[in-house]
Amino acid sequence: MTSYTTHQEIVPSNITSTGELSYHNGQPTIQFLLGEQERFLKPGTLRLVGEFTVWKTAGTLSTEADGIRMNERLGVNSIIDQLTVFSQKSSQVMEHINHHNRMMSSYLSVTQSFDDFAGHTYETSLRFPNYKAQQLGVITNTQARHATGKNEFCIPLVCGLFLGKEPIPLSGTWGVGGLRIEIQLAPDSNVLFSQDNNASNLLNAYYELSNVRLICETQVPAPDQLSQLMSQTTNTFVYNSITSYYQTINSANANLNFNLALSKVLGAYMNVVPASHINNLTRDGLATLPFTNSDGTVAVVEQAVFTRGGERYPLQYNLDTVQKDNLTNRTMDSQLARNYINSVMGFAKVARSSVTPNNFKYFNMTDNYLEAKEIKDGGSAWGLGIAYDTISDQGISFETVPFGVQLQLRLTTDSPQSIFLFVHSKQTVVSTPSGIQILK
């Protein structure tokens, strides 16, 4: 008998009697248990499946006139605020990503093209590269699923652990002892917002999930392979992990400093939004805008320096942008864009991307930010980043030295900017019959 795979379909362990889950109605957490078993999980097959509905008020779908929007670049990915993967056996955290939706915004922008955006991801993740079309096709869609307005979705749970190609051993003796996957839903106020700064229709609006399942395939090892595995007392499993950090800046000379405590850092990338936009019914709190002043005008980055332990690293020079010599230049800076893309995925590996000169450029807005939705190619896809190792895949140690970024920018007004930093690094799980140990 040879190795084979089987499909699994897992219902949330905290499912309600109606099968509906929403932040609004007091179910902000979805928990799945992928039990301890003598099998491997095929991480690329794991998907969150369900139906997504936006209610203006309970039982009433919104109409176009209500002007309710969500981030079109993220679609249904915007509902995941935190993703945590535990070992089911020991309850140890294997990976925890805060601000998962913002991480996805950078990840999807860099790795999926405009045609992906308008094509297959509209089917699976309800994303579409135009705010109005996404609103009409998802939020006010009355036709979907037998006229219930329920938009079916099937999305991957993106994290380092599940992006890997290596099967994840679920055994209690030679693996991680099963997985507990927890999804912290994003608040309605950060997922839904008004298209025209008018929050009156959003006061009772909320999104709801129904028929939520986790699906995956597990691989059953062949008997001879299984007997070998069972005889092992320890097992190591290497995976890439994503760690998130948060900081605000409010000056023209911004310094970010983080003690990452990670030994094999592959890259770090960050995206930005004005702090006042987060959880704001009149603003898109999940937008990835460039730095902006309080009147909505852009605060162009003139210089960026990435440091490791106070020294310039990996670039031994300052990134002087095209805006340094010409503050009115609104075009994208190719060095910033290149390093940003390279930090999310090795530049040479990026075959499809929707980061374009249209949506990475600076774009002056007014203080109501209504112009943000008019940025072409699915809205702004701005970010900063730096890759540390795209060749050996072994990473650089930030175990004892801090990661830093020094930015010189035209942030000349009182306009706190939230920076969400995501670091991907290599980690190792050592599993023994007594538990697991994570080596970061």
């Binding site: 045609d115 308008a118 297959h120 590269p129 036709q143 699906i215 939705k373």
Partner: protein, 522 residues
Amino acid sequence: MTSINNSAMIQASQGGAPSGANAIPDLVKIGTIPSDTAIDVATEILEPVSFSQNECRFVLTNKGILHSNSRITFALDGGVGNYAVVGTHGFYPLNIGVAALLQRVRLTVGGKTISEIEDFNHYYAYESLFVSPELNKEREQVFTGRVGLGVRPTLNERHGALYEDAGTPANNTESINEADSICLDNGKDFNYNPDANEGAGGEVLDKGVAPKLSRQVHDFQNEKNRGVFSILLADLFPFLKMNQLPLFMLSEQVAIHLTFQPRVADMATQDSGRIVTTYDVAGDNDAFIVRDDVKMVADYIFYPQELMEQYRVSNRNMSFNYVDYQFVKRTVSQGQFETQLIQNVGGAGRIVNKVCVQVENKSPGHQGPINNYGSDTPLISDTSTGSVEHNLRYNDLFLFPIDVTNSARMFHNVIQVETRIPHVTRDFYSGQGQLARGGTFGNVEGYPMGAPYATAALLPRDLRGRAFWNCFRLNRNERVNSRGIELYDKRTSMAGPSTLRAWLQVVRMAQLNDGKMEVVYA
């Protein structure tokens, strides 16, 4: 077919190889030749040895190794459309291009069928899903005539009308920033008023003329211009994507048999399976294939003679696994689907990798710009969509623990089977996107992307829910038992009877003994 599946499946086992045979590169397997090996490629233009409007046959020369990217070309005689009517075009179905001509393809060696796909043009519609919109726009439109199903948001910025005549925005229903709809993207701008401008040789909106939001096919795709299009051998016979045919080792005749899609006598009903004409313009004649343009451009690869001779000697007795397709087709009544169809699709005693299912639920005249080469969802109205619930059962077990009802998951299952992504948007797959619209929202050759249900004349010819292909991967590494594979499929509501097609990818084994090839099921 996927590279991952095939790499696992197609493992040449070379019997009787002398010691040291491992030093000889596997000339048959694509991608295994060291880059410093001298290679000569000779191209030969082959005429069909027999040809009619029903079928044709090519016989290959037994020399070298046949390159899998050899092509067969086709052209029509330019007599389909009533081209006296300005703005009328004839073109191949947008999703499959010239493959619409091919109803069945067969590769034989010494009269024995090595590979065969029935209803090939339908199967090609499935395979075409995996070609990215970028490739369709830039390459496939020229090679195969395929436009594909890639879409763009319909924005006014692309119309140009504002710049031509800002004072006449009468039919501009979209804004520069807000898209209410989608439209197929073939890389062309909308043609603002083809009726008024095409005859004059221009496609630019005259000042003061209201725009007409319809994209048109490229001139070279217009059947009137008798464009020559081609299709890859590896597309006709998918196993050639991983293996090449060592013709120099075969002593038997190698032939390719193509059966053409039958012609129809009456074009008034737009029932031709070969061609599509502009919306609401019936063609004069069905497509007529020009014999002189049907040729095979065969590329033969030659390695150094001693290397090929060594390979021949060391592989005198050779066997390799490859995949072929078994085909099942039947008519399913509306009631059967709505109560639940349980259909045995065969596969008994075989090793089956995947089952691809198409349901065609369109009647003549209602096929739209992709003709009947779509896989249809249940009925869609402007206010509702139908539902599908399916599963597959073989060897006494269901494939999925619970029947699949979520259309996004069905789409995901296709990705998992193929490890490729179908480049289809939500409106065309599940019909649930509400962005494919009709009338003034952007058409292709006059065909709306969607339509309000009340506009009954438009509905049967739109594209909503027309790429609803389903595919199942049999993942237990087992031979199917004598009961075969059963498809459980429940669909509500259907528009009358449907045609169900299923292709089973089965593993076969070819054995080459002293130049003679035998084929058996693995």
